[in-house]
C-alpha cells in the first residue's frame, strides 16, 4: 500500500501529512494494552464493584425485562447496531420500518397525531417541546413559559436553563390554578407528576388554549396504556422516556426519548422523522422525511442542533411493543398499577400517610424524619432503593419486574420502620378514577398484533435486518462519520447486569465500578486531547458542542465579559456548529474558506478584529471538514486568543489526531469527542452516540453539574442531559477500545486510517478528481471525490453513483457534504486491503459506466446508474425494459457472484414523500393493494 502511495514507511507518511508544529513527539502515556481475555477478566472484577439493588426510584427510569429474543437479535446483534443513520434509505428499509413502528406506537399511546423517531433523553425532549412552543406561538417581543412545580428536578433544570437562553421568562407554579400571564407562549406539565399523581390535563389545556398558549406534557408511555393519554386531553406536544419499553437502565442510558405533536406542527418538530414514500416503481418505501428542518440543511435556523435519534433504543422499544402488542402492554400496565394499588392499600390500612390521591405506579409517602431514617435502613438491608426527595418523604415507583415476593419485601421495609402493614390479595381500584381510565384503542395495526411468539418475533426481526446494510455486510465509507469496527469484546459488557441494571440515581456507593471506569476514561481522554478536565455528560456530539459553548459563555461571564456573544464559524463547518451556537444564544459570523478548502486567514483576522469586543469563540473542525490538516491552524487559534476569544474544536475528525497530534497542540481550549466515531461506540443505525467534552484548566470549573448527583465543576453550568454521566453504559465501549489498543495501538490506528485514505486516493485519483489535499498532495483520513465534472459531461451525478454503489454491495460515501456534488470517503483503519480494493474496483467500474454514457454506449437516461439500485424483484421480472442487461444491472463485477447484497426497493422518490407526508404505519388496505399489484 505504501508503494502505491509512494511513501517509504508508515511514519514517513504520517510525517508528510501532519504539520510539524503540531506533531506529537512523545507517545501517549496510557496504561499498557490488554488482550481481550485479560480485559474481560479484569472488567468482571470492576463490574463486581457495582451492586445491583432493586431500584424503585422512578424519575423516568424503571427496571424492565428486555425480552430475550430482542436482547439477542437486536441489542447484541451487529446487524442492528452497526448501520449508520438511514440517509441511504434504499438499503435501510428494515430499521426504517421499525422506526416507523416506534413512531406509530408513540403517537397512538400518547394520543397524538405524529411522533418523531426519538430524541436523546426526556429532559432534552422537554426542552425541545418548549422550543417548538416558542417557534409556533411566539410573536416578536417577550414571552413567558409556565413550568409546573411538579416536574422531575433534572428535567426541570435542563428545560429551564435551555429556555433561559431563548430570552424567555419562566414561571413556576400550578398551571391548573395560577393566573396565566398575558404573554403566555405555553405551559409544560408532567403527568404522572413528580409526586406520582395523575394530572387532570383537560382543564389545563382549556385554560392555556383560551389565552393562545400551547400545552406540552411529559408523560410515561406505560401509563398511557391505562390512563387517558395527554393527546385525548388537549395536549399539543407530548414527550417522555421510552426506556421502560425493554431498554436496560444502564446507569442513565442510552434510551430513546419520544416526542409527539399535532400534524400541523410537524414542520416545527425537532429530530428525525420517518415518512412513507414510493420507489421508482411505485412501491411503498420508507425514508427520513422533512430533512430541511434539520441542522445539516438549515444550520443556525434549524429546529434543533440534534443530528441523531436513538435509533437502536427506539427500535428495541418498538420491538417490545410489537412483541407484547396492545393486549400485552395493557396487561403489563395493569399489573404494575395493581401492585401499586395493593401496596397503597396496605400502607393506608397500616396508617402511613400516602399523599398522592391518584397514581399509576408511584406512591408519595410522608412521615417524620426518624421513621424515614428507619425505612432507609430497613430498605438498605434488603438492597432496595427508594427515592427520598426530602428528609420526611419517600417515593416508591414500581415496575414490570416487580413480582409477589418483591412486593412483600417492599412492604416489609415499611413494616420494619413503622406501622405494621399486611399485603392484601387484591387492591381496591384506588388511584385511578374511572374517568381517568383509558377506553380508546391503540396499536391496532397488524404489525402490533402478529408477532407475539418468539418464533414469529425472531423471524420478523431477521426479516427487517436482512434489508439493511451494516458493517457486518460491507465497508461503510462515510466521510466525517468514522464507521470503524465495533469490536465484540468492547460490546459484551454493555449488557452485563452489573452495568445494565443500575438506575441512574442510585447512591454512588452502589456504582463504584462505574465510577472507576469514568475516572480512567476521563484520564485517558484528557491525555489524548491534552485538555485536562473532562465531562462525560453530553449524549451526542451536538450536545457536546452546546455544552462546550455554554462553558465558554460561563467563563467569559465569570470575567465580567458576558457580552462576548459572537462565534466565528468557517464556511466549511458542519451544520450543527451554527445550530448549536444559535441554541446557546450566540451570534454566528461566517469566515470564508479559500478554493483549497482552508480557512482564509486574512478573513479570519479581519473578522476577529472587527468583533474583538464581542468575540466569544471560534468553532473549528480539525483536520478540516475537507479532510485536510490545515497548516495555519496554530496561527488561526492564536488570532482568536489575541482578540479575547476561546477556541472550540469540533472533534468529528479526531480519528486523524489520536496519538499524532491533539486539540491542545493546535491551541484549542475545548473540544468534544464523538465516542461513536473515534472511540468505537456503534452508530446503532442512527444513534446512540456520546459527545463528552474536554477542556483546558481555566474552563474546568464550569463543566456541567447535575441536581441529583455530584458531578461537574465548582461553578458548574446547568446539566445539558438528563443523566449525570450521559449514556453511561456505552462509555464501556470506548473504555474497552482504549484499554485494549493502548497508546501504541491507537496511534497506529490513526496512522492506518490515513494510510487507507491515501491508498484509496492513489488508486482512484485518475478516475475521479480529488478535491482537496494538503502538503505533499496527501489527504488526512478522508477524501472528497468531485462528481461535478462527470455531471456536466454525462448527466450522471453524485446521487447516481451513490445509488449505483448499492448494486456493487456498498454503502455510499457521504453525499454532497461538505461540498455539493461530491462524495466524501473515509475508510477508517478497520478495513482490510481486500475490502479497500473491492471498493476501488467498484468505483473504477462505475467510472467505466460513466464513460460509456459519455461515449453513447449507454443511453443518457436509460443506464444502470440512473436506474440504480436494482432490487431482485426488478432484475428477475418478466418485463425488462432497459437497454442494458440484467447481468450488468445486478452483477457488474464478478466478485458479486460470491456475495451479493440486494437492496429491496429501487430509487426512492423523495419529493413524493415530503409532499404526501405520512409518518405512521400505512393502513392495512395499503398493504393489500400492494400485494395485488
Amino acid at each position: 500500500m505504501l508503494r502505491v502511495i509512494g511513501a517509504p514507511t508508515l511514519s514517513a507518511l504520517t510525517t508528510s501529512i501532519v504539520p510539524s508544529d503540531i506533531r506529537r513527539t512523545e507517545p501517549l502515556t496510557l496504561p499498557e494494552a490488554e488482550s481481550e481475555a485479560a480485559y474481560l477478566d479484569r472488567l468482571r472484577t470492576v463490574a463486581a464493584r457495582n451492586q445491583v439493588w432493586r431500584s424503585y426510584m422512578g424519575l423516568g427510569y424503571h427496571d424492565t425485562h428486555t425480552p430475550a429474543v430482542i436482547l439477542r437479535n437486536v441489542f447484541e446483534n451487529p446487524g442492528w447496531y452497526t448501520p449508520y443513520t438511514p440517509y441511504q434509505a434504499e438499503i435501510a428499509q428494515g430499521r426504517l420500518e421499525s422506526l416507523l413502528n416506534f413512531q406509530t406506537m408513540v403517537s397512538e399511546l400518547t394520543g397524538m397525531e405524529v411522533a418523531n423517531a426519538s430524541l436523546l433523553d426526556e429532559a432534552t425532549a422537554a426542552a425541545e417541546a418548549v422550543g417548538l412552543i416558542l417557534r409556533v406561538r411566539r410573536r416578536s417581543g417577550p414571552a413567558t413559559v409556565v413550568v409546573s412545580d411538579r416536574v422531575f428536578p433534572h428535567v426541570r433544570e435542563v428545560l429551564v436553563s435551555r429556555a433561559a437562553l431563548l430570552d424567555v421568562t419562566i414561571i413556576t407554579g400550578d398551571p391548573a390554578t395560577m393566573a396565566l400571564p398575558a404573554d403566555l407562549a405555553g405551559v409544560y406539565v408532567q403527568s404522572p407528576d413528580d409526586h406520582g399523581a395523575l394530572v387532570n390535563l383537560a382543564p389545563i389545556a382549556a385554560r392555556v388554549h383560551a389565552v393562545g398558549g400551547l400545552l406540552a406534557v411529559g408523560t410515561d408511555l406505560l401509563a398511557c396504556a391505562l390512563v387517558v393519554p395527554p393527546g385525548e386531553q388537549g395536549a399539543d406536544v407530548v414527550v417522555g422516556n421510552a426506556q421502560r419499553f425493554g431498554v436496560p437502565l444502564g446507569y442513565g442510558g442510552p434510551h430513546a426519548a419520544f416526542f409527539a405533536t399535532r400534524s400541523s406542527f410537524v414542520r416545527q418538530a425537532p429530530g428525525r422523522i420517518i415518512g412513507v414514500s414510493v420507489d421508482a416503481h411505485g412501491r411503498r418505501a420508507y425514508r427520513m422525511a422533512l430533512q430541511t428542518r434539520e441542522q445539516h440543511i438549515r444550520r443556525e435556523k434549524a429546529t434543533s442542533n440534534i443530528c441523531t435519534a436513538q435509533a437502536l433504543l427506539a427500535n428495541i422499544s418498538a420491538f417490545y411493543g410489537v412483541f407484547h402488542g396492545p393486549d400485552g402492554l395493557r396487561a403489563i400496565s395493569t399489573r404494575v398499577h395493581a401492585h401499586t394499588a395493593r401496596l397503597a392499600e396496605a400502607l393506608r390500612a397500616a396508617g402511613w400517610q400516602q399523599t398522592n390521591a391518584t397514581f399509576f405506579d408511584t406512591l408519595h409517602i410522608t412521615a417524620d424524619r426518624a421513621t424515614i431514617g428507619r425505612l432507609r435502613e430497613s430498605s438498605e438491608r434488603r438492597q432496595i432503593n427508594f427515592r427520598y426527595p426530602g428528609a420526611d418523604i419517600v417515593q416508591v415507583a414500581l415496575d414490570e419486574t416487580v413480582d409477589e415476593s418483591d412486593l412483600k419485601d417492599v412492604l416489609a421495609c415499611f413494616t420494619e420502620a413503622g406501622p405494621n402493614a399486611a399485603l392484601l390479595t387484591a387492591g381496591e381500584a384506588r388511584g385511578l378514577p374511572a374517568e381517568m381510565r383509558r377506553t380508546s384503542p391503540f396499536m391496532t395495526h397488524p404489525v402490533f398484533n402478529a408477532h407475539h411468539s418468539e418464533t414469529e418475533m425472531m423471524r420478523y426481526i431477521r426479516q427487517l435486518e436482512r434489508k439493511d446494510l451494516g458493517l457486518d455486510t460491507a465497508m461503510i465509507p462515510l466521510g466525517s462519520c468514522t464507521m470503524k469496527l465495533n469490536a465484540a469484546a468492547e460490546m459484551l459488557p454493555v449488557t452485563w447486569p452489573q452495568f445494565s441494571r443500575l438506575h441512574p440515581f442510585v447512591p454512588a456507593s452502589q456504582a463504584e465500578g462505574y465510577h472507576q471506569i469514568f475516572r480512567e476514561l476521563e484520564d485517558a481522554l484528557a491525555t489524548i486531547t491534552g485538555l485536562p478536565a473532562v465531562s462525560l455528560q453530553p449524549n451526542s456530539g451536538a450536545q457536546g458542542e452546546f455544552a462546550g459553548l455554554l462553558v465558554i459563555k460561563a467563563y467569559h461571564g465569570s470575567r465580567g465579559e458576558a457580552h462576548r456573544d459572537v462565534v466565528l464559524i468557517p464556511q466549511s463547518a458542519h451544520g450543527t456548529n451554527p445550530a448549536s451556537a444559535a441554541m446557546a444564544g450566540l451570534h454566528v459570523v461566517i469566515v470564508a474558506c479559500d478554493e483549497r478548502g482552508n480557512i482564509e486567514i486574512d478573513d479570519l483576522k479581519t473578522k476577529a478584529a472587527e468583533h474583538r469586543d464581542k468575540l466569544a469563540c471560534l468553532m473549528v473542525t480539525y483536520p478540516s471538514t475537507h479532510g485536510v490538516f490545515e497548516a495555519g491552524i496554530r496561527e488561526v487559534c492564536a488570532t482568536i486568543h489575541e482578540h479575547g476569544g476561546q477556541v472550540y474544536m469540533d472533534g468529528a475528525n479526531m480519528n486523524a489526531q489520536v496519538g499524532v497530534t491533539s486539540p491542545a497542540a493546535i491551541g484549542a481550549d475545548v473540544c468534544h469527542l464523538n465516542l461513536h466515531k473515534t472511540f468505537a461506540i456503534p452508530h446503532g443505525g442512527g444513534g446512540p452516540g456520546m459527545g463528552p467534552i474536554a477542556v483546558a484548566t481555566h474552563l474546568a470549573p464550569f463543566l456541567p453539574g447535575h441536581p441529583l448527583a455530584k458531578t461537574g465543576g465548582t461553578h458548574a453550568i446547568a446539566p445539558v442531559a438528563a443523566a449525570p454521566w450521559g449514556s453511561a453504559s456505552i462509555l464501556l465501549i470506548s473504555y474497552g477500545y482504549i484499554r485494549m489498543l493502548g497508546a501504541h495501538g491507537m496511534t497506529r490506528a490513526t496512522e492506518v486510517a490515513m494510510l487507507n485514505a491515501n491508498y484509496i486516493k492513489a488508486r482512484l485519483a485518475a478516475s475521479f478528481p480529488v478535491l482537496y489535499t494538503g502538503a505533499h498532495g496527501r489527504v488526512a483520513h478522508e477524501l472528497i471525490f468531485d462528481l461535478r465534472p462527470s455531471k456536466a459531461r454525462t448527466g450522471v451525478d453524485e446521487q447516481d453513483v451513490a445509488k449505483r454503489l448499492m448494486d456493487y454491495g456498498f454503502h455510499a460515501p457521504t453525499v454532497s457534504f461538505p461540498v455539493a456534488g461530491t462524495l466524501m470517503v473515509e475508510p477508517t483503519e478497520s478495513e482490510p486491503k481486500e475490502e479497500l480494493d473491492r471498493f476501488c474496483d467498484a468505483m473504477m467500474a462505475i467510472r467505466a459506466e460513466i464513460e460509456d454514457v459519455a461515449t453513447g454506449r449507454l443511453d443518457r437516461s436509460d443506464n444502470p446508474l440512473k436506474h440504480a439500485p436494482h432490487p431482485a424483484t426488478d432484475v428477475t421480472a418478466s418485463d425488462w425494459p432497459h437497454s442494458y442487461s440484467r447481468e450488468q444491472a445486478a452483477y457488474p463485477v464478478p466478485g458479486l457472484r460470491a456475495h451479493k447484497f440486494w437492496p429491496v426497493v429501487s430509487r426512492i422518490d423523495n419529493p413524493h414523500g415530503d409532499r404526501n407526508l405520512m409518518c405512521a404505519c400505512p393502513p392495512i388496505e395499503a398493504y393489500e393493494d400492494e400485494l395485488k399489484a
Binding site: R267, Q291, T292, I297, R298, K301, N910, P911, D914, R915
Partner: protein
C-alpha cells in the same frame, strides 16, 4: 426568457402589477435552484407586509428559502392550491402565483428589476 410584463427582486420573486394590485411568485431561476418544491408556507389574508420583509417560506427536498415581499401593502389573496400541488411552482413558475398584495406604495416598484436586469443578475 423572463417575461417583460413582470418585475423582479434580487431575491428571485417576480411581481405582476395591475394598478395597485400586485401578484407575487418566484422565478424560474429560483425554482431551478431549489429543485422539487414540496411545501410552501404562506401568510394569512389581511397581513401587512413591508417591501423586503419575509412573508413566507418555500421548501424543497434539500433546501428551504425565505420569501420576501416585493412591495409593501396588505395581503389580499393567497393561492391555497399550492398547499396541495406545490409542484406547480416547478412546472410553471411564472404562473404559479403565491400571494396578491394591495400595494400601499406602488412607487416602490421603481426599486425592482426589469426582465433584462434580472436576466443579467442570474446569468
Amino acid at each position: 426568457m423572463y417575461p417583460t410584463t413582470l418585475k423582479y427582486t434580487k431575491d428571485h420573486e417576480w411581481v405582476k402589477l395591475d394598478a395597485a394590485e400586485a401578484t407575487v411568485g418566484i422565478t424560474d431561476f429560483a425554482q431551478s435552484q431549489l429543485g422539487d418544491v414540496v411545501f410552501v408556507e404562506l401568510p394569512e389574508v389581511g397581513r401587512e407586509v413591508k417591501q423586503g420583509e419575509m412573508f413566507g417560506t418555500i421548501e424543497s427536498v434539500k433546501a428551504v428559502s425565505e420569501l420576501f415581499a416585493p412591495l409593501s401593502g396588505v395581503v389580499t389573496a393567497v393561492n391555497a392550491d399550492l398547499g396541495v400541488h406545490p409542484e406547480q411552482i416547478n412546472a410553471k413558475p411564472h404562473e404559479a402565483w403565491m400571494i396578491r398584495i394591495q400595494a400601499s406604495a406602488p412607487a416602490e416598484a421603481d426599486n425592482l428589476l426589469d426582465a433584462d436586469a434580472y436576466t443579467t443578475l442570474t446569468t
